[in-house]
Symmetry: D2
Subunit: 265 residues, 4 copies
């Protein structure tokens, strides 16, 4: 438990009768009409407006996380909406509750792994290829020796390439943001494939975890990008559920299957 501060204070926003200020900027005059939603998320988290390259990469990062089809999260949200259609917000909340270690956790894990291997102030920003090669080799050997899973690698469907990964790296490259963390995870990828003797997918959460390191976001907040993006996606699922419901069908189908063994013949 972090020691509490002495005071109750927030620096995010304040307002008076005729002004609303978020992160030091006038919401009506300096934010509305000037930023897009991804930029606003960046401002909310960092306290500053992103540069154009940062805006391009950060918007792509968040967009990647919006929609993943009929996931456990989407099913939970739809089930909840079926029982409480008057509480759309609770359906989204239920869907978000499952964004934990199993799914979104690998993005967080990739960022943490990269920061652990290469702390932000550990090497000069122009660390040479040789340095990064050594770090990647050591890391892969250590994970293999400890039989640990590399976060951000592997995918049940997208084999051998997750189509989001090269696209995210290309966007980072175009915007001058494919720095040493992107290079490092690519070297880890190569080392891991060599060590395994077969192709291994560097998945989107691995690529996104590396981008989060390029921005310098603390790994503890990385999961939050998945949470905010998926909130958007889940509202889309609830809208579809309200127009073409599937939740009650799922319920009846699963309940029947789950209790079939117990019912009298």
């Amino acid at each position: 438990m972090t020691a509490p501060s002495k005071t109750i204070r927030s620096d995010i926003a304040w307002s008076t009768s005729d002004e609303i200020v978020v992160r030091g900027k006038s919401l009506p005059n300096e934010i509305l009409g000037h930023l897009n939603l991804g930029d606003m998320a960046f401002l909310q988290l960092t306290g500053r407006v992103p540069t154009a390259p940062e805006s391009a990469v950060f918007n792509a990062l968040l967009i990647t996380l919006v929609e993943h089809g009929i996931t456990p999260s989407a099913i939970a949200a739809r089930m909840t909406y079926a029982g409480a259609p008057e509480s759309l917000q609770a359906a989204v909340a239920a869907g978000l509750c499952g964004l934990g270690t199993v799914f979104v956790g690998s993005m967080e894990g990739a960022s943490r792994m990269l920061y652990d291997a290469l702390p932000q102030d550990a090497l000069p920003q122009d660390a040479g290829e040789a340095d990064l090669d050594a770090i990647a080799r050591d890391l892969v050997q250590r994970y293999r020796a400890e039989k640990r899973i590399l976060p951000g690698f592997g995918h049940p469907i997208h084999k051998p390439i997750d189509p989001r990964t090269p696209r995210l790296f290309a966007i980072a490259e175009e915007n001058g943001m494919a720095g040493r963390y992107v290079t490092l995870i690519q070297k880890i990828h190569a080392e891991a494939e060599t060590a395994a003797g077969k192709p291994l997918t560097l998945n989107a959460t691995g690529a996104l975890g590396a981008l989060c390191c390029e921005f310098g976001f603390p790994w503890k907040i990385v999961r939050g990008f998945g949470v905010m993006a998926r909130a958007i996606g889940l509202v889309g699922h609830i809208l579809e559920e309200s127009e073409r419901p599937m939740a009650l069908n799922i319920w009846h189908q699963i309940e029947d299957e789950a209790s079939r063994h117990a019912r009298p013949a």
Copy 2:
């Protein structure tokens, strides 16, 4: 309870080993690097990419809802994070659960009121001023006669003008989206002030509710815009809470105050 469909089917997204399609568009090739996060939300909900004017107005609409300071929602999220810092997603979920009828509900209520008074196909798009005047007058008289509150009006702090309202209308105007629903709520505003004999704030939720009608969004999904935007804002609060915590201080202060009367002197 809506009658369930015969099938379990979603048209939002699907994927194969080398492709991910969201709303009919290739995520890697047609979405990433092409859209901003607000556009992606629009695509997720409507199935199409917004036009440039739609993008400007829709991004402004969502951004307005991201951050409102230390609200009950932010306090709930921070309290939850203090108890379960390992579950950032659950803290955001807890904060979203309170976005119900009392706060976010007025935006939904404004949209519903406007659609009830002026159904989308009720008048030609170029309905004359006289038509809208009559609708506004009737509506205000009816609400007053029934002692109902006009959703989207009044504000405890922003008096007599909510600074977001004129800005949102200006952005709509610049983008050719200040149509008959914006005009109608402005006329309702004027009628209500005349009837009350004093200034009355047309607040941001009223303005946003009118913009939702301009887009033609079903009123039942309007609350969802508040939910998705606030999810972004709450991640910001949790990041600040992780760096400068206030939750435990709030707890101790409130617990002490709440039980002071009961403790032995």
Copy 3:
């Protein structure tokens, strides 16, 4: 929005270094070892220990609501646990979020209907059969005329009798708590069947709603009994899910079915 009180004050519990008091009773000395969990719930809500008959009926009321099989609520909880097994509490929370108007709402609705038809102070406690007959007849006629559904009636499986209903009424009878609200809902049942000309199930939520009125609980809190009981049931589902998981199987099965139409052949 209820007007806020002037003070921040709670009368539920307080503690000192060597004492913990809940609802005026010493937790260590007067509660632990003296009450069962249902009695504790009664004490927490009413501020007093139930009598033996009240304890019998109230425990039965809550127990009825603990477990309903593989419901949407249980599916949502299991889906959430699959994604965040480290946050058992968030899985239960997700499952509870759907206990809204569609499912648990009918118990609340039954209580509200009975209170509306027969306010607590409207008739002497020994109101005659004739009075209750008239109230039941009027109510059924009015609901039919307004084409409203009678809350607490009908069931997709338990036809013509919900086996919980006669048992709950028998327990109430044995404990002297089958008063005028139980009689009234039974008369409504008879009137509704006569009017419909066919059998109609008086379901468990109808019986429970009547029992809540016998206790005099405000209808606004009736849903809370479903929430607290189901929390117990959901922990059971999560324990089973941890030992014999079904969530990922459900996911794969539903996702495949939902997107089959979209995948290339």
Copy 4:
């Protein structure tokens, strides 16, 4: 991620038109009127009805966790209710979301520590005092050497004795359930005090963690007892909030304090 089973199957409950079976027992005929709510929770989790001594201890265990005053969890629930009073279930859910590692986690941690030190099948049930002395001494030395906190020890208010702890142990003793795990945590307590050279509170979560081990519950489900019990407590808080609200007062007080530094003088 646990490997999914091949089938979708639950053994908790099933029903036919005239029967409802929970954990192999007829809900109407064998459960209602026969069990109290704590017994029902035991049945739901273990698949069997508790013996009378088990019932006494298990009910006490759960009751201890129902109510802890104006906690962060209660504040989150009240804040949520203030925004969405129509969704009582979402307010309870929000309050539960924070029952994570910081608060409820110590009960789970105590169980886990005890099982790690003394696996269920490691010693004969009548393991001698000398065996348990050695285990306790080793454990305290190891935790001190590794500078780890002993879960279940220490309390900010209840010093030097948490009044729940001796009462819970007495109830276990009276019911023949104060076995080797209770003895072990008491020996750990004594060793820890000797090592520290000062009194150290064995708090309620430590005592409850030991009782969970006496029952043989897997440590992964221990947190669930806190979750189910607190759901009851939170409904009580929401009832009080509906009758004498404090949430909006807390909001205004905290918002004012948090943003005071930023407002123009």
